[in-house]
Every structure is written in C-alpha cells, then in structure tokens.
C-alpha cells in the first residue's frame, strides 16, 4: 500500500509539470482539478496505512474545498462582475479572446 502512495505522489509531480508548461489558463485549471482528486485518494490510502480512520472526514472536506476553489477561479476568469482585468498581462486584458500559443 505504501507503493501505491509513492506512485500517486510521482503522478502528482507529473501533473504539476503539465500545470507549469500548460499553454493556456484552462490547462492549468484542469491540472489543479486532477491534483485535488489525487490528493483525496492519497488521504484515503493514508487512513488505511496508519489505521487512523479520522482521515476519511478530512478527505471529504479536502474535496469540497477543491470544488469551491475551482468555482471561484472560474468566476474570476469569465466575464461578469467579478472578472479580473489587468492591462498588459496576456489573457487578462478584458477582451474575451484567448491568447495564441
């Protein structure tokens, strides 16, 4: 079971690499989503490894916090009252066109 846990950690590092080199903002958002679910899986495995089953409750809260964070990032990214406009920063100039490359 420790082997699965180490394997999931390696997969999290690979997905983090995708989040760093991802060309658009949407790719980074997908990577955050995948990292949250892998973290939830790691917490459930940790509960069975340590035989301390309070970790299961922590997994629920972790998953719901990931959902809320992605919701608020999407609210900042799309047009509306909460949209973030930074002049000069690519992708955040207020028009709806995604940048090339």
């Amino acid at each position: 079971m420790l082997l699965f846990l180490v394997g999931l950690l390696v997969l999290i590092l690979l997905v983090l690499l995708r989040a760093i080199i991802g060309p658009t903002v949407i790719d980074r958002l997908i990577s955050i989503n995948v990292i949250t679910s892998m973290g939830c899986a790691i917490i459930i495995l940790m509960a069975f490894l340590k035989e301390d089953f309070g970790f299961i409750d922590i997994a629920v809260v972790f998953m719901l916090c990931g959902f809320a964070s992605v919701l608020w990032i999407l609210k900042v990214l799309t047009p509306g009252d909460w949209q973030l406009r930074v002049p000069g920063l690519k992708g955040f100039e207020g028009n709806n066109e995604e940048e090339d490359a």
Binding site: G7, I26, L29, S37, M38, C40, F53, L64, T78, N96
Partner: protein, 103 residues
C-alpha cells in the same frame, strides 16, 4: 482473499490515474485533455473506494466512503462541464484538425 481483491482494486485505480496523466501529456488541446482527466479521476476514485469498502473495519466507515464516492461522482462531472463552458466563453481554440459544424 478479500485482501487480494482489494489490492487488485487499488492497482486498477493506480492504472486509471496513470492513464489520465498520460492523456494529459499526449492529447493535443485543452478540450481533449479535459476528457482524459475526467475519465481517469472518476474511474480511479471509484476503484479506490471499492477497495476501501472491502478493507473497511466497520459499517459506519463504509457508509462514509460511499458518501465520498457519491459526492465525487456528482462534483467531478459538474466541474468538467463548468471548465469546458468557461473555455468556450473565453474563446480557447481547439486544434486545426477539429471540424466544427456551423449551420
């Protein structure tokens, strides 16, 4: 016997997560990467929860893991849908080979 089946479930969940990660690196644009990530996550968490239910010591714990699985299977497709909608609104371009049908 039950332990062997549970460990096979854990191995399957690890393979599903690995296939999702492979899809994140191999597929060409954001929409198809979303598809790969969604499939890997849902199947991986499902198999891991099945193994945890088989290994669990008490019924209240199995009920908690079932609640996690239920929430996950509602929340994860919703999140994929919202990200795809935001990508469409922001105007993220698919690859050149994608054929769009416009009436």
């Amino acid at each position: 016997m039950i332990k062997i089946i549970a460990y096979l479930c854990f191995l399957g969940s690890f393979i599903a997560f690995g296939l999702g990660t492979l899809g994140l690196f191999r597929l060409p644009d954001a929409y198809s990467r979303m598809h790969a990530a969604g499939i890997g996550d849902t199947l991986g968490i499902g198999l891991l929860g099945l193994g945890a239910i088989l290994l669990g010591p008490s019924w209240i714990l199995r009920l908690k893991i079932l609640i996690i699985l239920f929430l996950f299977w509602i929340v994860n497709p919703t999140m994929t849908h919202l990200i795809a909608k935001a990508a469409l609104i922001r105007g993220t371009q698919p690859t050149e080979e994608t054929k769009l049908r416009r009436e």
